[in-house]
Amino acid sequence: MDLTWELESLYPSFQSESFHRDFLQAEKLAEELKSWAEAHF
């Protein structure tokens, strides 16, 4: 039985395209959420 974990199902690495894409998307969503909240509340 393997004593190390599997992290690839999250991201293959910090340099991976999926990490980069999600990071940019999270950045965009956070800004949008802030602007939306400022405008509505």
């Binding site: 990490f19 999270a26 909240a37 509340f41």
Partner: protein, 529 residues
């Protein structure tokens, strides 16, 4: 998505604390989360305009809002303690050079403190946390020397530490009063979703149980060869039974799966999934701490566990403990993110429950030597969360009271600490063996905005033991209720969630049942050792 990104960075960092990329990504993601926090602050302010009645009416009129009624009520309650926008902005800035700066000064003082120690012919330069870790060393001479070195090191930074503590306590009391809390304790109860009555009943029951824990310490003194009382530096000393064959990781997985399955097939299946899908990093490696940790990744409905498995029975307990955390989270899948938070008092429920389940299983089949080691670890943890945290609770309560009349000297803080420790440990430890600088060696007192990092953990330990006592009485009938309870922990107050299991946390009976379970362990420990 944010949680997935952060979890990945955190997991990489926890494997290797020198991983700079992981550290940088965590910093960037934390900065990013401030936008979301700002959005929530706007929402909270808007929500504060609603009366309690209006909020109930609005939440009740829409299924989605009704699903989030607890979250909305809690946010509205928190909003009642928010000051004006201008005051909050000034406060935020001032805290950077106030409590946050005092916290940093303490942390820096402690982290740069080097303790030159020499024993066994070897010179060492150690940090305060290294020195504290030696309380668990198998060599009694190392434990004694480390304790003396700790006391001396604390003495050298006592004045700075007292200045930090006075400033932090003073600011917390002033700010919470301005926010409309009756005391720092009131604020902690609120964020812990606990009420004063629960705390009072639990503390009274703990106080009544102290003689029982003192009998455990006295037994430990006897086993370590001390007449009658335990020198305080031996409180965490390991008691190992005879050497036994190491447990293979595969065997540990089997023990856990079988033990969990004996409770319910769902829990057994969960353990199997965690092992088979490689959720656990159990390989002991340098750079990896000796602690256990569980990170829940709700977006992918999985968790990851970090631990160092060396084949001892306590490693099996730690694995079971961390899998318990993961199981708790699995009972919350399908909830929206804001509905997955549960407070500190509840956070250890499933973990300690699973650990107790496996300990019972291992005790049933272990040799007497293994059983002593297992019982000692379980009792040492319980006594730590009950006895030592009782002292910390008394100390902090008295500190806030005394601080009202002005800043306290090192001697005055020492006196408060000594009285609190004496009240908790009583006649079980050698008089005068508790050094008075315990308030310096515990970073929890210096974490700005995190007061009373004590009784919520005592609650967690006792509550979980109380549930286990109930399971032993009710058997299978308990299982479904317990699963529903875990699912409800993120959307109910502590008392409401407990009520779902017909448990009244305002009644001392429940707490006494929990303590009786520990009393049974002390009895068994005394018989076997």
């Amino acid at each position: 998505m944010y949680l997935k990104l952060f979890s990945y960075s955190e997991l990489c960092f926890s494997l290797d604390s020198s991983n700079e990329e992981a550290m940088n990504r965590m910093d960037e993601l934390e900065a990013l989360s401030s936008s979301a926090q700002e959005a929530q602050a706007h929402f909270k302010k808007w929500l504060a305009e609603f009366s309690e009645h209006e909020l109930e009416r609005v939440a009740g009129a829409d299924a989605y809002l009704a699903q989030h009624a607890f979250y909305l009520r809690e946010l509205r309650e928190q909003a009642q303690h928010v000051l004006s926008e201008e005051a909050e902005a000034i406060l935020g800035k001032l805290q950077q050079s106030g409590s946050k700066a005092w916290e940093k000064l303490y942390m820096r003082t402690v982290s740069t403190l080097r303790i030159e120690a020499e024993w066994g012919g070897e010179s060492r330069s150690l940090s305060l946390s290294d020195i504290r870790g030696l309380a668990y060393d198998p060599d009694p001479e190392v434990r004694r020397a480390a304790y003396e070195a700790e006391q001396e090191a604390c003495r050298t930074i006592a004045e700075q530490s007292a200045a930090c503590l006075n400033a932090l306590c003073g600011e917390a009391a002033a700010i919470y009063e301005r926010r409309g809390y009756s005391s720092p304790l009131h604020k902690v109860l609120s964020v812990s979703r606990m009420d004063q009555k629960t705390l009072d009943v639990m503390m009274r029951t703990i106080q009544e149980s102290l003689p029982m824990f003192r009998s455990y310490y006295k037994k430990k003194a006897e086993l370590l060869g001390y007449p009658g009382k335990l020198p305080f530096h031996e409180v965490y000393a390991p008691i190992s039974g005879e050497a036994v064959e190491a447990i293979a990781y595969e065997k540990a997985a089997e023990i856990i799966e079988a033990g969990f399955r004996s409770f319910h097939s769902e829990l057994g299946d969960f353990a199997r999934k965690a092992f088979r899908q490689r959720w656990i990093d159990a390989e002991p490696r340098s750079g990896k701490g000796a602690f256990g940790m569980c990170v829940d990744i709700f977006p992918i409905e999985e968790s990851r566990i970090i631990t160092s498995f060396t084949g001892h029975s306590v490693d099996v307990s730690i694995l079971a403990h961390e899998l318990g955390h993961a199981y708790h989270s699995s009972r919350l899948t399908g909830q929206t993110m804001v509905n997955t938070n549960y407070p500190i008092p509840i956070a250890e429920t499933a973990s300690i429950f699973c650990e107790t389940l496996i300990n019972e299983e291992m005790l049933r089949t272990s040799t007497s030597g293994e059983a002593v080691a297992l019982l000692e670890r379980s009792l040492s943890d319980a006594a730590y969360y009950i006895v030592d945290f009782y002292a910390r609770y008394l100390f902090e309560t008295r500190l806030y009271e005394a601080r009202k009349s002005g800043a306290l000297s090192v001697e005055a803080i020492n006196e408060l600490m000594k009285d609190a420790m004496d009240a908790a440990y009583g006649d079980s430890v050698v008089p005068g063996s508790i050094h008075p600088y315990q308030w310096i060696s515990k970073p929890g007192y210096y974490m700005a905005g995190n007061e009373y990092l004590n009784f919520p953990y005592s609650f967690g330990l006792l509550f979980s033991k109380g549930l286990f006592a109930r399971y032993k009485k009710q058997g299978e009938a308990f299982v479904g209720q317990y699963q529903d309870f875990l699912s409800a922990t993120s959307t109910h107050s502590v008392a409401e969630a407990a009520r779902l299991m017909n448990i009244d946390v305002h009644s001392s009976e429940f707490w006494q049942d929990a303590l009786r379970l520990i009393a049974g362990e002390i009895e068994r420990f005394s018989e076997l050792s």
